[in-house]
Symmetry: C2
DNA sequence: CTGAAAGCGCTTACAG
DNA sequence: CTGAAAGCGCTTACAG
């Protein structure tokens, strides 16, 4: 060994060419075999030797080359309003599970708070995606993505784009029915002050249900999806001349705020005030008393949405889907009791 | 127009070749200009005309081609134990924010529950990543990624891999100090039954702090990070002959379980039992009374981790970082009161 | 200051 | 049943 020897080349991953050489076949054969398109075109013996060679070398295809050749990225963008709300973790999980099964990856992006320039686009590798899954977006948030195959989640029916939604109206009706059955007539709606289809649908369903109830009355106040803001809104509702006997909340987190309002006002839940939530996130069972709410299958939303998007990408025309919510009765609802006004 | 005309080609995105033609220059010039490497090599006038042409055509470079040529994917994998825990949303958010600023995307993967075969690998596009950010993992979970640049988050110091951690021991000491100052001597530790560095560090710090306290006594029970399991563990601790006057919980969710145990046993928090949490997730202020806990800067963990990984990818050797937690005193802790045993 | 050419690693007609 | 060749859209030496 002399000091003059050539520098060792950097270790690099084996390519299909290396596998071909190792197996003593051509690159085409390797591609056919490893791509699963060999039957009837390559002899079983050759196929086996290719597989063995690939295994020996630890070969893994270069995705960038594959993508370039195929004109696809096998990556999908999931766009959500925020990742800090406990609701979106499961949505991602469901979407990623289905995607992985088809060799797709999922990148998440949160919708930028401000309409920043495209230079500050939420995803660095701009446009390196095959499709987009947009969840719980404001009305025309999708506008700037025209051209990219998209499926909308939890954003309401749309003529132009395939959708997957929750049956929130049914869920709200189930709450109203449960409460009416308990004897409630004076409802307070602590609504989320968020311009999304799902909240408009909840408000409309509740209003209709209460209106259909003999003697039914509904007061509404709205707030950000935030414990402190919800507490304030609930206090306002409960301080009215003829206060509601139940607070129907648009979200479990808002219900937590309603609990605080009740406590501040010296009202026991549920004997003096019933409270309901929506979503059934972890918080619902962490609260005391445990919260009556509507369970929304968030993971299923992600999974079904991804299934629809994959279908769309394959040239299909997926039908709109609605996933039913489920009323979960726990300990925060009870018959109303007369209360000093 | 005859019925024989050739079918219109599918609309396809413009390439750098199209831009070159539009601007009347070569593809090389386009690449130089758009890649920002033109100064001193291309005349300002030419550069301008290239930019204009790109703008007119709405050109956006094909990432797959770029990746193939450059041998990089500009994608990083964030691996977390679960996405349903409220802690990881912010970690992702912080990581993605820094990544986007450098033109990188972030794919998330949850560590598979079971050691499934590589065929069922968590990420579909196996290996289409430049690096990996692994958060809160069990000891040798990273083993199968040897070869890929990695940074470990919240997994404890490691000789081989750059790390970013929380100062959990300091946080636990701050809790112990706060409690000791209030007069507590009999501590109960509701520990997370999870084999992660962070929990071992918390347990060790608490044990040391209590041992250093004159008259200090510590009992420990452990449970899954789950409200119901935590309640059971707390009940066990509180049913001992000389029960603790405070329950130090490894997680805010566990603290919620402790609240339930207190309620079931008829103990008022904080007058008859103090409770502390860890993390400061949303739940901490949703509970009644609001929880004294240690805030862990989760988003900052993601951001610092990504910064370290980018540094590593650029050939640097990032130093280990420790992010301090902050004791947040709320209403769940008070001086102990004698209690019938 | 600018262009022609090579090559990243795949997949897929096409020829044999 | 198998191989040689083209080409996806970039970037970067290299020549001029």
């Amino acid at each position: 060994m002399s000091a003059r020897e050539v520098p060792v080349p950097a270790i690099s991953r084996p390519t299909s060419k290396d596998v071909a050489q190792e197996a003593g076949v051509s690159q085409s054969t390797v591609s056919l075999v490893l791509g699963g398109k060999w039957s009837g075109r390559v002899s079983p013996a050759t196929a086996r030797s290719v597989r063995d060679a690939a295994e020996r070398l630890g070969y893994r295809p270069n995705q960038a080359a594959r993508n370039l050749r195929l004109g696809t990225t096998r990556t999908v963008l999931l766009m959500v309003p925020t990742l800090t709300a406990p609701f979106f973790g499961p949505v991602y999980t469901g979407a990623a599970r289905v995607a992985a099964r088809h060799g797709f990856g999922v990148v998440v992006s949160t919708w930028p708070d401000d309409a920043q320039g495209p230079a500050d686009s939420p995803f660095g590798s701009d446009e390196a995606i095959d499709g987009i899954l947009a969840s719980s977006l404001a009305p025309d948030a999708l506008a700037r993505f025209r051209g990219t195959p998209a499926v909308m989640l939890d954003s309401g029916p749309d003529g132009a784009v395939p959708t997957v939604d929750f049956g929130v109206a049914d869920g709200m009706r189930a709450i109203a029915r449960h409460l009416a059955g308990l004897g409630h007539r004076r409802f307070g709606h602590v609504a989320a002050a968020v311009d999304q289809w799902t909240f408009r649908a909840r408000a409309a369903a509740l209003a209709t249900a209460v209106a259909a109830l003999p003697g039914g009355a509904l007061a509404r106040d709205s707030c950000a999806i935030d414990v402190a803001a919800a507490k304030d809104a609930a206090v306002r509702l409960l301080s009215a001349p003829h206060p509601p006997t139940v607070l129907v909340c648009d979200d479990d987190l808002i219900a937590a705020g309603a609990y605080k309002a009740a406590r501040a006002l010296g009202l026991d839940v549920p004997s003096e005030l019933s409270v309901t939530g929506f979503d059934d996130v972890l918080l619902a069972t962490a609260l005391e008393p445990e919260l009556t709410t509507v369970r929304l299958p968030a993971e299923e939303l992600g999974a079904q949405g991804m299934t629809a998007l994959l279908d769309l990408l394959a040239g299909g025309r997926p039908a709109p889907r609605v996933l039913p919510g489920e009323l979960i009765v726990r300990d925060s609802t009870a018959p109303p009791r007369n209360r000093r006004v």
